[in-house]
């Protein structure tokens, strides 16, 4: 049976307080899609990391900016697109973090981007200069989780 493509969106303000709303929004959608508990947890964390990066690096903690999260479920995949109007963030500058290097240096950067790549099947960044930035997070439906609750 075909899963109907029906996209849902949510807008939040660029505050770390908003992360709880983001997690609830993604939780409901990922569960409805029929993902396993583990996949739901991984997707929630990846979206949290993406939004945290936007708050920190694109908006530099400005608390009055907007982040839009849109979810596009399809037959085979669950895609989350996150948009912001802040400073473009180049993830290619982020190296794979060396934990030993981070310890004691009070360096936190890179962990979120690394986690997103490990937790999702695909992570893409699109920048439209002068317009908006987009992060796409994609998780494919595994054969084991095609039946909700089964």
């Amino acid at each position: 049976m075909e899963t109907k493509a029906k996209h849902i969106s949510k807008r939040i303000v660029s505050r770390t307080e908003s992360l709880v709303e983001v997690r609830k929004f993604v939780d409901t959608a990922a569960r409805a899609f029929g993902f396993s508990e583990e996949d739901v947890a991984n997707i929630i964390l990846a979206v949290d990391e993406a939004c945290t990066n936007i708050i920190k690096h694109a908006y530099h903690y400005a608390v009055d900016q907007e982040i839009e999260i849109s979810i596009f479920p399809s037959t085979r995949s669950f895609e989350i697109r996150i948009y912001d109007n802040g400073k473009a963030f180049d993830p290619s500058l982020i190296r794979t973090p060396d934990l030993k290097d981070h310890i004691g240096h009070k360096r936190r950067g890179g962990l979120g981007v690394y986690l997103m790549k490990r937790l999702m099947d695909k992570v893409e960044y699109n920048f439209i200069p002068g317009k908006r930035n987009e992060v796409r997070l994609i998780k494919y439906r595994s054969t084991a989780s095609t039946v909700p609750g089964g």
Partner: protein
Amino acid sequence: MTDFKIHHRDGEGVSVIELKGYLDAHTAPDLETAFQKLLTEKKYNVVVNCRDLSYISSAGLGVFMAYVEDIRKNMGDIKLTNMSPKVYNVFDLLGFPILYEIYKDEQEAVSRFKQIKK
């Protein structure tokens, strides 16, 4: 409002920090304050009990990374305990088990500090 609580108790030369709820970019500064307080009070033997920790993101993990060196320089350590499989998975993805001692049970971690003291 994000639900996160820290409970701190001291006993027999070991400080135990209990974490409850959601540790994310919003609540990580609370954990940072707790570690700063431990350093100020020269309490370097720290057990972090994660039994009631429902969620952790990289912002929370970053706090453990930032403070472990200062604590180890003072002959102490941060030992982590009682993690749910979901929380452990996040620590594991970032390679924490190589650099941190993680125990199933708080008492086990406390005993390790006592063995070192002997």
